[in-house]
């Protein structure tokens, strides 16, 4: 099961060649946000523990991320003002999560504004993704 560097390179090239229609994986988001975070903080490394703290704490407002998504990424949540069910956030429990840039960026954008009154930093996003990826089903 050793992955040969050349084989990995070829697989990567094939992925690139297949264009942007390729589905993204949770690991892609971790890599992307971590790379972005390193531009201002060299040596930054995502932490699931920080991600959990960030996700479950309030940030000056009424809501935390957990208010709608619960403290358990594998559990179903409930929208704080409408009561509508929200499917689990952990990719292990819900394969539709962390699979599309359009969706992930849209919801980070909206929900960070609602909870923090500002956009989330790449470091915060990397930590949250690390925590969600860590969650068992």
């Amino acid at each position: 099961m050793k992955s040969h560097p050349l084989r990995m390179f070829l697989a990567g090239a094939a992925l690139l060649a297949s264009g942007f229609a390729t589905a993204e994986t949770p690991a892609d988001f971790l890599t992307r946000y971590q790379t972005e975070a390193r531009q201002s903080t060299p040596g930054f490394s995502a932490s699931a523990e920080r991600g959990e703290k960030f996700f479950t704490a309030t940030h000056g407002g009424e809501w935390s991320c957990s208010t709608c998504h619960t403290k358990n990424p594998a559990a179903r949540g409930k929208h704080a003002s409408t009561g509508k069910a929200i499917e689990p956030m952990a990719p292990a429990a819900n394969p539709e999560r962390l699979a599309s840039t359009r969706s992930v960026e849209k919801w980070f954008g909206r929900n960070c504004k609602d909870v923090l009154g500002r956009t989330c930093t790449p470091a915060e996003k990397a930590d949250v993704v690390a925590w969600l990826m860590n969650s068992p089903r």
Binding site: H79, G83, K84
Partner: protein
């Protein structure tokens, strides 16, 4: 099965057309009340925080006003990219109520639950609606259509699918 499905589909379609043509004056006696929400992008973008509300329940000006202020949408950020927003606005306006829904100040109403039609249809004492039911723990908000209309998420508001929550009746 093969014979009933097309007939049912046709009936649903007819009702969709009737509801659209009648504007907000939905007839009280239709057995099936299916309202058109048949647009994949609308259903996924506007059905994520609450059910996708039927376009026929607000006038075109109300939908235009709502779509112009999605970044401050009832206390939530619901903003969309310009392209998606344009596609959805087109669907909403094309299927909007015939008559405009303006408040007493002349400005477009943004809540279906504030329109005179809604208030009349959901007045206290009408078909099991009790004072305070909309703010009860089980319903929380008049916008939570699915608390009573069990198939609201499918655009189906038929009378036979209404169940008013029990613990709501007390408050």
């Amino acid at each position: 099965m093969t014979a009933t499905f097309p007939a049912r589909a046709l009936r649903a379609l007819t009702l969709v057309l009737t509801a659209g043509a009648a504007g907000l004056a939905l007839a009280d006696d239709d057995e099936n009340k299916r309202l058109n929400i048949n647009h994949p992008e609308y259903r996924s973008e506007c059905g994520s925080c609450h059910i996708a509300f039927p376009p026929a329940l607000l006038g075109a000006e109300s939908w235009r006003a709502m779509m112009a202020g999605l970044d401050k949408h009832f206390g939530s950020d619901a903003s969309l990219d310009a392209e998606t927003s344009a596609v959805i606005t087109k669907f909403l306006v094309a299927n909007a109520a015939r008559r405009d829904t303006a408040g007493s100040d002349g400005r477009p109403q943004l809540r279906i639950s504030d329109t005179p039609w809604f208030r009349k249809e959901h007045r206290d004492g009408h078909d099991g609606i009790t004072p305070g039911i909309f703010r009860s723990a089980a319903v929380k908000s008049a916008a939570n259509c699915a608390a009573c209309h069990r198939n609201a998420a499918e655009g189906d508001f038929s009378e036979r699918d209404i169940r008013i929550p029990k613990n709501g009746a007390r408050s």
